[in-house]
Symmetry: C2
């Protein structure tokens, strides 16, 4: 959310502390990837530009504050919040960002994506081979850092989450072009692919501040829900968005045979006749990817989904999940930090990219 959120004035001191904390995370990230092998250093420099909102490390830092007994007092007295973050918080922030980067790099290979954050992807620029190995390098670096700075529990949780994420990707791949994909399976995929790492980020931050199990679990649930809502919003952006605004390839999901929530809803709601037309349009899209025919098919598809109320339905689902996420936050005492976390959850829904 760095530089993206416009926070209310009362939350500005937290925002400033987070920005300073993220700089420490970035320094740790860069240190961990330092290498004396020039081609490796080259590739690592390339992915620096992928660094965007740093949502996951931000959540490590925020939950680290939220669960810290001294945070509210410091905030009230105007004292520095940054010293509450130990090397463990900072290291874990770098770890979750590194795992995220690795999945971005590998996802771009899987999706044949050419643009990410307004720059060329590693696979487009250096080939799939370099992208596959760079992803492996980032994963290895994340695990190494995790073993270096953290408790065994954190390392275990990171390994477990990475397994969950990969199994979510495999599940999604298995259901590619499966036009009968149902909502529970959709949610299972999204929870694993996106929810798991955001949930991990929230639980790691709180645990590193010594939070009790109930708090850690509630914050993990908060993060998972936030991740799911984030992904539904991503689906909507992929469908409706413009490449120039989002800064990455759009309308890839359908071309790659990935069913999104609005489409699942539309296929369930449509009359047999309209359902038949929707299926034909999806097929056209998958077969004539990136041609004018595909562009027309998407526009037609979006119009039909809108008529069926599927766009509104997906948006409402995301909002309901964000509400559920915010309810999980009641485990925390009222505080400006809690307000800030709530505020970030709302931002998931409001974002335009």
């Amino acid at each position: 959310m760095r530089g993206v959120l416009e926070v209310p004035e009362s939350l500005l001191p937290i925002n400033e502390a987070i920005l300073a904390g993220l700089e420490r995370v970035e320094a740790c990230f860069d240190r961990q990837l330092e290498t004396d092998i020039p081609p490796v250093a080259d590739l690592c420099r390339h992915i620096e530009r992928y660094r965007g909102k740093m949502l996951r490390p931000t959540l490590v830092l925020l939950t680290g504050l939220a669960a810290h007994p001294e945070a509210s007092e410091r905030l009230a007295s105007g004292a520095d919040l940054g010293t509450l973050w130990t090397d463990e918080h900072i290291g874990l922030g770098a770890v979750v960002e590194m795992v995220h980067m690795a999945t971005l790099v590998h996802d771009d290979v899987l999706d044949d994506a050419e643009i990410r954050r307004r720059g060329q992807t590693v696979n487009a620029l250096r080939g799939n081979e370099a992208a596959v190995i760079l992803g492996d390098y980032l994963l290895a670096a994340a695990y190494h850092l995790c073993s270096a700075v953290e408790s065994r529990e954190a390392a275990l949780a990171v390994g477990d989450t990475a397994m969950t994420m990969a199994s979510g990707e495999l599940l999604q791949l298995h259901h590619r072009e499966d036009l009968s994909l149902d909502e529970p399976t959709y949610y299972e995929i999204v929870d694993r692919k996106t929810g798991a790492l955001i949930g991990l980020s929230c639980s790691l931050g709180a645990a590193a501040s010594g939070a009790d199990d109930a708090t850690v679990d509630a914050l993990k649930r908060f993060g998972r829900d936030m991740g799911i809502a984030f992904q539904i919003k991503d689906d909507l952006l992929d469908l409706m968005g413009e490449e120039t605004v989002i800064g990455k390839s759009v309308r890839r999901d359908l071309a790659k045979g990935k069913l999104t929530l609005p489409l699942i809803h539309a296929l369930g709601e449509a009359s047999p006749e309209i359902r038949g037309r929707l299926l034909r349009e999806v097929k056209t899209l998958a077969e004539h990817h990136e041609t004018p025919a595909a562009g027309a098919a998407v526009d037609q598809l979006v119009a039909t989904m809108r008529d069926l109320g599927s766009i509104d339905y997906a948006r409402a689902c995301a909002e309901k999940i964000v509400d559920r996420a915010k309810a999980s936050l009641s485990v925390l005492p009222e505080s400006p930090v809690r307000d800030f976390i709530e505020f970030s959850a709302d931002a998931v829904i409001d974002r335009r990219f």
Copy 2:
């Protein structure tokens, strides 16, 4: 080396113990990959057939015995050796095999390989996407297992080694089609790609038995050398071998623009005229991959390399490195286990696949 080595009679009890130990490693490996997601379970079943010699876990077990104060006594009295391996030895055996599997799966994507252990590769059967994610899943599972059963030192070493391996792959990729690749860079690549994990296997086994640092370091050097010799032998097999004997795609190295030790030697030794011809043949190979023209070019290339003494040179290099590896074993007291390890080192050179 399971089922491959014909060990002298005096070493049979060790061989039997290793076979029983490897069964425990396999059980641990399978347990770690258990999942209730059917498409993930499917893919994991597929890679079971990749399990071959299990060289790396074998070395964890062997060095675990070699560094164990009670091993020789037990062997002399005919007592069971297997109880000397703790859950740590077994878990680490599964970890190194899992890391190895992950690199095989990703390597096959990079190499467009279609055959591995006489079966179709994951990428050939299920596509590159499934292979990339399956590799990630295996890596995550390895790190998770490592954090679950081991000392932080072991987890750190595994993360560090995985970084070294990926950087070796990136270095190799960087030098693809670089016909001026020199021997030091070749050795750097091979040491990272193959030596590092075999060295790790040897050091982990010894450390888990409580060996002192000097022993752990010497065994790591032994393993790295063994890995390098193994790779040179692989280069030779790729050049001279037949697919039916080796059970995986052959002559891929040259087609993929990877320089091997015999070719580096030949390019250095050849007269300007022959060098020009060699370079043309390599180019033909890379451009007309899998055509009759490529087959003829390889045969011609091998004949030229043989004339220049390059095949013998590479073979002699591998033998010298195995000798150096065996010299590192002098850190261990004389024992049948040490003899067995020496024997395995010789087998690297003698193997036909």
